[in-house]
């Protein structure tokens, strides 16, 4: 290796290292971890939240956003579902204090407000859990995979005119821009083993 080429190799190596480091950071940010609480298996996924740009934009426009959250435990990455949980969260945003409020839709409903973005996402995940006993049926040493998914539930489009066949309705239909359906946001994690978790305290 000549003296002239040495700095160039160093530069390339540095860039590669930076790339690897950045990938590692991104991957760790997308990582999923599980924990137990009583008979519930919970998931934490730092960096994977419901508050992505489109959702935040809608919230900052003063609208509330309904998000469907699904948590599915599978024996294999694309295998049968062992246990699953579905929740619907209604999110809103305090324009002046710039804090989030969340309501878990269902019975019983549960609400919280004055949350920062990270806390809001964590709250959603904290209230999305599957039964540990259901997961335990596959065996404590059996690996399992988890799929976490968020779906923005688009509200029903309200027609501009009350009359079913009106000029305003016709203009509204003919002038409607094709709105792309928001793709579900998915994060897969695994394999996990229950045996790798600390024993839940009774």
């Amino acid at each position: 290796m000549s003296r002239a080429t040495a700095p160039r190799v160093v530069t390339r190596s540095g860039l590669a290292a930076l790339l690897v480091a950045a990938s590692a950071v991104w991957l760790s940010a997308q990582a999923m971890a599980i924990s137990t609480s009583g008979d519930l298996l919970r998931v934490t996924a730092p960096g994977f939240g419901v508050l992505d740009a489109p959702v935040v934009e809608q919230l900052r426009d003063g609208r509330s956003v309904r998000v469907g959250a699904d948590l599915a435990v599978r024996e294999r990455p694309d295998g049968a579902i062992v246990a699953e949980a579905h929740e619907t969260f209604a999110l809103s945003f305090d324009l002046w204090e710039e804090r989030y409020a969340i309501t878990r839709v269902g019975t019983p409903s549960l609400s919280i407000s004055h949350l920062r973005a990270r806390d809001a996402e964590a709250w959603c995940l904290a209230h999305l859990a599957v039964s540990l006993s259901e997961v335990g049926r596959i065996g404590r040493d059996t690996p399992f995979w988890i799929r976490l998914q968020y779906r923005v539930l688009n509200p029903e489009r309200v027609p501009t005119s009350d009359e079913p066949f009106s000029l305003g309705g016709l203009i509204e239909i003919l002038g409607r821009r094709r709105a792309g359906e928001a793709a579900p946001k998915t994060l897969d994690g695994g394999p996990f083993r229950l045996s790798a978790l600390p024993r839940p305290t009774p």
Partner: protein
Amino acid sequence: MRSSLRTRLVAAFIVATLVPLGATLWVAAALLQRSLGYATTNELDRLSRTLETTARQLYQLERDALRRDASDGRAPDAQFAAADRASWPEDVRAFWDSGDVERVGAAGDGGNRLDLLRRSPQGVDVFRRDLAGVRLDALSDEFRRARALVEDGQSHDLRRGFTRALVLLMVVVWLLSLVPLFLIARHVSEPIRQLTDGLTDFAGGDWDRRVPAGRGDEVGRAMDAFNRMADQLQRDKDRLVYLTQMTSWQMLARKTAHELKNSLTPIRLTVEEILARQPAAERAFVEQATQIVVAEIETLERRVRAFSEFAAEPAVAPALLDVNAAIDERLALLQPVHPGTSYERRLDIDAPAVYASGDLVKSILTNLLENAAEAAGTGGCVRVTTRRDGDRVAIDVHDSGPGLSAEASRTLFEPTITFKKHGMGLGLSIARKHALLSGGDILVVPGELGGAGFRVTLPIAPPRDLPS
């Protein structure tokens, strides 16, 4: 090609309306584009963001001021002791449960106040700051509405919606207008097509072809004229054919009469000479035989005279003629000959005079009335009627006789066919010929008295020929 007129009408409408339709569409679309150019979705977007930023800045300034006041030792506006937690307001309790040290939020009437909730050793201290009439909740609502309008405006292309709706509606209206056009085109072209078909068929030899009548417009009058023309042509054709046949029959009759006459005279002279030269002893037998031969010769001579009469061309001298008077005259002559027959007159006293040769008309009437009286017989009845029928006068003669068979009706006017005990069977042929020569005709009509019925039609006099 049958619907070419309709197709042309529709094509003419389409061509005539497409250009103005396109021009109207273009102008309307241009006006729409221009008017919608004033739409201010982007402006509303910008203004709402500015409003939000400004309101937030105000909020933050007031919040910071409130915090400074609270930190500077200002007495709380309200205090909630932990011991009285059961009676705390909902927001205070929620704050306490959240574990936060401090919380600021809009409160009061429509958010016209800021409340700072701060955890203290005794419970919760509440510091308040009036926003001088600024209602944060109302601002939130306005901002939300503005953003909804922006979002709605951005999710719709109003220009495209208006333009497409305009085009769609105009096309629909235009297409709907084609429906009555098709109906009108059909209404206009159908009778013309019928008339054209009728003319084509008639020219092709279908002499019975007629077109539906009953329309009151120009086309309807043309159709009526076609039907009248067809009737007239058919009548003329029938007359021509009949007269042609008659000419042939007359020529034959003339030759036959001539030949017979040439032979009968020498026969008669020879027979009379034979009788004169017979001796007296044999005279009685020969005289008897001669009488028989002479009688047959006389019969043949009568037939020759009938043939000659049939072959003769009568003089036609048309003049105004009162048909009712002519009928009365003929009946007066007939009644003594057939006294056992009753005669019923139903004559239209308002029937106009006809323009025909008097001799020919009298000949026709004599023939028909004589035939009717003979057919009716003793105790029978003959009915004569007159009435105006368009530009003609119709004379009907009905009898209560046995009537005519279908075969008889078909060959009735052909010469040398007789259905009577006496006569040559040329009478009806001659009568029809006379009627045709007078500009009229004779038809067989359903008998009103159970027997035969005939109708003579004669032309009425032209107005200029009528007596004043």
